[in-house]
């Protein structure tokens, strides 16, 4: 058996695994109930089974029908942008908006094709000022500006 359509092969596999996961997890942990009084497991089991079945069809068709290759993954922008976002979220509470925004802007800028310190610093300054004026002052979102350990934050 040769895989003729790699895109279908992998997406079929993805759907089968996801569907089976929801199905099995629901069967183990929740009550099925009956068709009249459906328990919390009923709908997920139905859908999980359906998803796995659809995945299986796609998976099998990958061996029968010719299809395009999976295009190359570009891990650098994917990882740096995801990491930048996560850093922003988890740095906000302890270190404040100024540090969190810096982490997001600089890390994600590394994911691009070219990185020029001067440009990114200016971009960061503009975005920081904008966030502060519009979101903190204007829309009064309760973001901390300074890190936790700074007792009297000069910027609010």
């Amino acid at each position: 058996m040769k895989i003729k359509s790699p895109k279908d092969f992998w997406s079929g596999l993805m759907f089968i695994v996801t569907g089976l996961f929801f199905l099995i997890w629901a069967v183990i942990h929740y009550n099925m109930g009956t068709a009249v009084r459906m328990g919390p497991a009923y709908f997920p089991v139905l859908l999980g089974g359906l998803l796995a079945a659809l995945g299986l069809i796609i998976f099998i068709s990958a061996f029968a029908l010719q299809g395009p290759k999976v295009p190359q993954f570009h891990f650098r922008p994917l990882i740096l942008i995801s990491v930048g976002c996560v850093l922003y979220g988890y740095l906000m509470k302890p270190l404040g908006l100024i540090v969190a925004t810096a982490a997001l802007v600089f890390v994600s800028a590394f994911g691009g094709h070219e990185f020029k310190w001067r440009e990114v610093v200016i971009l960061y300054a503009i975005l920081m000022l904008f966030s502060w004026l519009v979101f903190v002052r204007g829309l009064t979102l309760p973001f901390p500006m300074c890190p936790d350990f700074v007792a009297n934050c000069p910027i609010r």
Binding site: K7, W10, S11, M14, F15, T18, G19, F22, A26, Y30, N31, A35, V36, R37, M38, G39, P40, F43, P44, L47, G48, L51, L54, I58, A64, L65, Q66, P68, V70, P71, F73, H74, P77, L78, I81, S82, V83, C85, V86, Y88, G89, Y90, M92, K93, L104, V105, S108, A109, G111, G112, H113, E114, E119, L123, L127, S131, F135, L139, P142, F143
Partner: protein
Amino acid sequence: MEILSNLWLGFQVAVSPINLFYCLIGVLLGTLIGVLPGIGPIATIAMLLPITFNLNPVAALIMLAGIYYGAQYGGSTTAILVNIPGESSSVVTCLDGYQMARQGRAGPALAVAALGSFFAGCAATLIIAVAAPPLAEVALKFGPSEYFSLMVFGLIAATVLAHGSLIKAIAMVVFGLLLGIVGTDVNSGVLRFAFNIPELSDGIGFVIVAMGMFGTAEIVANLELKGDREIFTKKVTNLWPTKDDFMRSWPAVLRGTALGSFLGILPGGGALLASFGAYTLEKKVSRHPEQFGKGAIEGVAGPESANNAGAQTSFIPMLTLGIPSNAVMALMIGALMIQGIAPGPQVMNEKPQLFWGLIASMWVGNLMLVVLNLPLIGMWVKLLTVPYRYLYPSILVFMAIGVFSLSNNAFDVLIMAVFGIVGYVCVKLECEPAPMILGFILGPLMEENLRRAMLLSRGDPTVFLTKPISAGFIIAATILLIVVALPAIRKKREEVFVEEA
């Protein structure tokens, strides 16, 4: 003349200073993101949803709606001037619009696009005003089984009309439905698929998923494309079309408006389908089909009218049935839910100000677009010269702020990043994220209606086929599936045969 009094009420709401202000913001933002490739109305609306928390529902919806139809205007500008479709719905405008610009007729192309869009916008506003009330009337009589079948039909139709593999689109819908289940089960109070994470007890935030799938995933996909965009800003002179242009355009505008309005109402329809359909139609009915692709003004007038009409009439199923016909409408439903309004046929009677205000604001917004955009074209084109390396960190900052502010929780940002990765993988595997979003928003509703229908029928699943309206939806969905599956099979077979021969 109930419609007139209703529209009068709507205009009173729409022209109040605060609503005018948000309408202006909406259409300006819409045009802006329409001009910029790489960020579309879905990501923008998702980004702004958290901010609408603090607005009143009318202003929030007016602004978000303005973004959607405003984007159709902006998309055509860049398509004509620089051959870049700022929006996927203006891809076909590139074909003839850009050729016209090369022949020194950018002005007439832009004017026809704007005026055609304006006409389509006015017509679509009227269509919504006329068609929505009777539809809502019918929908009020729907029971759980009818609703369930309607949702099945809506989801199937949405996948059928979407491009790409049908079966993958359906699988994505089911995937979305499953994700919609995460959280507390309303009937039993059981926590489902929460994995002991307290943040998941209310389910995964719709906005967060949409931002990940359409925002971060799209940025990563854009960063793969190397090379800078070639920009040349020629001065646009002589905006006014000639008499011949007028004579050739107006029938195209009429046809485009009619087709676009119709395609917009269908589930899965909207601006994208409308513009492609209109271009094909114009080419078919034209006496000079050989001119298409070489600067035929009908090729600009038809699709541009159609995409605007389609963008607006796609509000009809959302407003009257509470069923989203495309991903943008799913976000609108999200916006309503954030405001504590359950979408459905009752909205029109319970919140006439919201309903008619929104409709009237579309007409006002279209007027603003025509008045503002023609003089501002130079500015929009200049914006295109901003390199993407400045744009995407800015977009990310706004997305991160928006998501974090939802509940001041870092976990939400993490979920966004996770769905960014999921979205990227899906794009690579040619699985469309839009059907997933539709499924995600309909998941809880579908389960609830399925439960009620089965309870009422004492567990007899044939209820969906014995009730006439419900059976009609199921039959329509089945026919759609069969019709679309047939040529797909044939085409695939042909491909295989070619390979083997």
